[in-house]
């Protein structure tokens, strides 16, 4: 009989879940209506305050936001459902309206209070609060210097999303000092490490002076974790070509992690610098199979470096047993304006792999030319029409 009782127990829990799911389904169906109701409440209250501010701006019955309203807003926005409604309500507003901008500035203490409230909440809500700050700082140009330190503490939470959203919020605040601190904080974490791509993309949303930020983070580079260093170097590559010297130091330093040196090679592929040409040539002609990645990336980077010496090195790379080195070298030779037919003459009969790769690159280019010549309709349209 014990097994039956167990099954009854399990069945009962499942029936409870079934009922929960059904009720949840009904709750979801009513979700949109609830959201509209909350937005209507917020609209009514905020518009009353906006009228007061408008009068203030036009000199009639000077009035600023009522303390009562701030208290009400604090209480309501402490509930995430109202914060969601407020998020949507802000989207509807005209950010250029002076009264609205004044209103947003005057409710800053509410956000400072909410920063402490949501820090104590579960991670999903904390992450949403950071997302809210990042969005509306960007769109509404709110000044929120006071809560930057508070947001910095959100990086200590375990949730990946909380870290990412907090980093985005800090990027939107555009304070290089705080952002450098946040990168140090992210590097300190032993467990959850953000993917360098995620950090780079977040940094690219930085709205302040990028040069000031780069100068500051380069000064602290060695204090960051390896992942953050990679992300930072990629960010610099996307943002500016004015950092050849520190990049060259990284490139020349054999003690540096290879990923950082690869990032430096890519940087010099984007921003050619004659002073590093020699080291790139050394990498591309290196026959050591353990160092093939240096050769492959350098082969790609040398596409923008003129000169016969570079062409000779790339032709040499075409004989490499490594597929990637040959592929990148053939692409770079193409960028040097050498016709594949001429290269065929050079390589004729010497190396089957090199010939095959050149042939493939030649045919690929013909395909691209054919696609362009066919004057195909815009690609998106073709896809849209087809599916």
């Amino acid at each position: 009989m014990g097994a039956e009782v167990l099954l009854y127990g399990y069945g009962l829990v499942c029936i409870s879940m079934l009922v929960f799911n059904l009720l949840y389904s009904l709750h979801l169906r009513a979700g949109q209506r609830r959201m509209m109701r909350r937005m209507a409440v917020l609209r009514r209250r905020v518009e009353a305050q906006l009228r007061g501010i408008q009068n203030d701006l036009t000199g009639q019955n000077a009035q600023s936001i009522q303390v009562k309203h701030l208290t009400w807003l604090r209480r309501r926005l402490s509930r995430v459902s109202y914060l969601l409604a407020f998020d949507r309500f802000l989207d509807e507003q005209d950010g250029q309206d002076r009264a609205f901008q004044t209103y947003i500035r005057q409710i800053q203490p509410v956000f400072l209070y909410l920063a402490t409230v949501y820090w104590k909440r579960e991670d999903t809500q904390a992450a949403y609060f950071c997302h809210f700050l990042a969005r509306h700082r960007l769109q509404r140009h709110m000044e929120m210097d006071q809560i930057q330190q508070a947001v910095l503490s959100y990086l200590k939470k375990d949730s990946l999303y909380c870290k990412v959203n907090a980093l985005k919020a800090l990027c939107s605040f555009a304070n290089p000092e705080i952002l450098t601190q946040s990168l140090l904080e992210l590097g300190r974490e032993a467990n959850v490490q953000l993917h360098p791509k995620v950090v780079t993309e977040a940094l690219l949303t930085y709205t302040g002076d990028a040069e000031a930020l780069i100068r500051r983070i380069l000064g602290q580079l060695d204090h960051f974790s390896l992942q953050i260093q990679r992300a930072v170097l990629d960010y610099i590559r996307f943002r500016s070509g004015a950092y050849g010297q520190p990049m060259a130091e990284i490139l020349r330093d054999p003690g540096r992690d290879k990923e950082l040196r690869f990032a430096a090679i890519r940087y010099f592929g984007r921003y050619p610098d004659p002073s590093v040409e020699e080291i790139l040539l050394r990498f591309v002609t290196d026959k050591d199979p353990l160092r093939w990645e240096y050769a492959a990336i350098s082969a790609s980077a040398l596409a923008r470096y003129p000169g016969q010496e570079v062409v000779d090195a790339l032709i040499q790379a075409m004989y490499s047993p490594n597929w990637y080195i040959r592929y990148n070298a053939s692409s770079s030779l193409e960028a040097h304006g050498l016709s594949y037919e001429a290269l065929f003459q050079i390589l004729s009969g010497e190396d089957r792999y090199a010939r095959e790769m050149l042939n493939y690159r030649l045919e690929t280019r013909r395909l691209e030319e054919r696609a362009a010549a066919a004057q195909a309709p815009p690609r998106q349209e073709r896809v849209g029409a087809a599916v």
Binding site: A3, L6, T124, V164, L367, E368
Partner: protein
């Protein structure tokens, strides 16, 4: 003699009670954990706890095809409609005898090209390679000698340009955001080596631009019952396995892999019919043996729509293949069983698949035979047997319905009254009828299975309703 039979039946009874309790507990846990995880995932989605659209991991989509002239064009078109920037499409035509290659060449204006292919995993030689650059992303078609699905996928790996590859079936359609969603765990955790996506039956669905505009339960009852089955599997048990990094199946219809690790592990096994399961198990083995930190993830919101068989004969054929594949994978990696080095993968995942999937048809048939024996020697309490069977049916039906109703937590699936009625009616038939038919099919699957090596499953294809 009677005493011996009585003792034998007592042992069988104890075994079955333990077996049932184990199975019920697993199903219960998977449904409760799955349902609560789906609820949490929806909440995360609502509160923007997700990485945005700006992060792109380069992915090569591999489409192995054999005699897929009916569906291949719509499949590739659906891939071109994905909301993703950095990917390529590689179709491997594995010795088709129909017009699969011609359909592709005509539809996408492909040109023959001499492409050097680096053989990093073994596969049959290529016959022709075609490419086009006239579309949103590069499309490559490789025609090769027939070598089976695993061989075609290995060719795809060799041709792939990007560090991650995604394999899908040629009769499947990806939802517009599925590539972005399946790649997300890679960004969230750098140790992720493979990600399985959610596979759902598209019979009954209407898809436009990779978006499901209308999804109802299929008209055919057999397909409806498979919807319940898929819900139980993808909206429940895989989520549970994911909790402890124990997924040993990544569906061949939709899975993302880190190419370098798959190559290091030796690629797909050409001698196994269930190449998808074999690869997932192999990745566990490779990463554990080489002491590489790794995660194999499963994501519920990355969705691939696939056709499920609507005829019993096709379904039986498909399930036979799956069972043979399961048998081959389990046998090949039998050293995992009760091996502490593999932790939960050994003691939960492998154990579950061995006893509740591989052996289950034999155990079920053995149960029926012992029931007949007990009946013959009058050692059975018939009313109790009927009661117990009734409890089992009701319990299994409730679990199926719980998994079915868990779809309220997914963003794209809605509940309709007619679908609810269908689900309620069919969950009982699925447990009492289809399950036993499938048990018989799976039990007989291994007879003469060696002859079926390197064959593709043949299921009657229909054009997917893509607008």
């Amino acid at each position: 003699m009677r005493d011996f039979i009585q003792f034998f039946l007592l042992c069988v009874e104890c075994f079955f009670i333990l077996y049932m309790v184990g199975y019920s507990s697993f199903l219960f846990l998977s449904v409760t954990v799955g349902s609560s995880e789906l609820y949490a995932a929806r909440r995360r989605n609502q509160l923007k706890n997700e990485l945005g659209n700006d992060y792109y991991v380069p992915v090569s989509i591999l489409v192995p095809a054999h005699n897929e002239e009916v569906t291949i064009e719509s499949t590739v078109k659906s891939l071109l409609a994905l909301d993703y920037k950095l990917y390529e499409i590689v179709v491997v035509d594995d010795g088709s005898t129909d017009n699969t290659a011609q359909v592709l060449k005509d539809a996408f204006h492909m040109w023959r090209i001499d492409r050097p292919i680096q053989r990093r995993v073994p596969c049959q030689a290529e016959e022709e390679v075609y490419e086009t650059r006239a579309w949103k992303v590069p499309i490559t078609l490789v025609r090769k000698k027939k070598g089976g699905k695993a061989d075609a996928l290995n060719m795809g790996i060799n041709v792939a340009n990007y560090p991650y590859f995604l394999c899908i079936d040629a009769d499947s359609v990806l939802q517009h955001d599925s590539l972005e969603k399946i790649a997300r765990p890679v960004l969230e955790d750098p140790t992720v080596v493979a990600v399985g996506g959610s596979v759902r039956p598209c019979n009954g669905a209407e898809i436009a631009n990779g978006r499901v505009v209308r999804y109802r339960m299929p008209r055919k009852l057999l397909a409806c019952m498979q919807v319940l089955e898929y819900d139980r599997s993808f909206l429940a048990s895989r989520i549970l396995f994911d909790r402890f990094n124990g997924n040993i199946i990544i569906s061949g219809a939709f899975g993302l892999f880190l190419k370098s690790v798959v190559i290091a592990a030796g690629g797909y096994d050409k001698d196994t019919m269930g190449e998808d399961m074999e690869l997932a198990v192999k990745l566990h083995v490779y990463c554990r043996e080489s002491q590489r930190p790794y995660r194999i993830r499963y994501v519920t919101d990355a969705i691939c729509w696939t056709q499920v068989p609507e005829r019993l004969r096709d379904l039986c054929r498909q399930r036979k293949r799956w069972h043979i594949g399961l048998f081959q994978s389990m046998m090949k990696h039998r050293n995992i069983l009760a091996n502490p080095k593999y932790g939960a993968v050994s003691f939960i995942s492998y154990f579950y698949f061995l006893f509740y999937e591989l052996f289950s048809p034999y155990i079920e048939v053995f149960g029926v035979l012992t029931t007949l024996l007990a009946f013959a020697v009058e050692l059975i309490n018939v009313p109790f047997m009927i009661l117990f069977f009734g409890i089992y049916v009701v319990y299994a039906a409730i679990l199926s319905l719980t998994a079915f109703f868990a779809r309220v937590h997914t963003v794209d699936l809605k509940l309709y009254l007619s679908d609810i009625l269908k689900a309620v009616g069919l969950c009982v038939i699925e447990v009492t009828f289809l399950r036993f038919v499938m048990a018989w099919v799976r039990m007989t699957a291994l007879i003469g299975y060696r002859k079926k090596k390197h064959t593709w499953g043949k299921i009657e294809r229909q054009k997917i309703q893509i607008k």
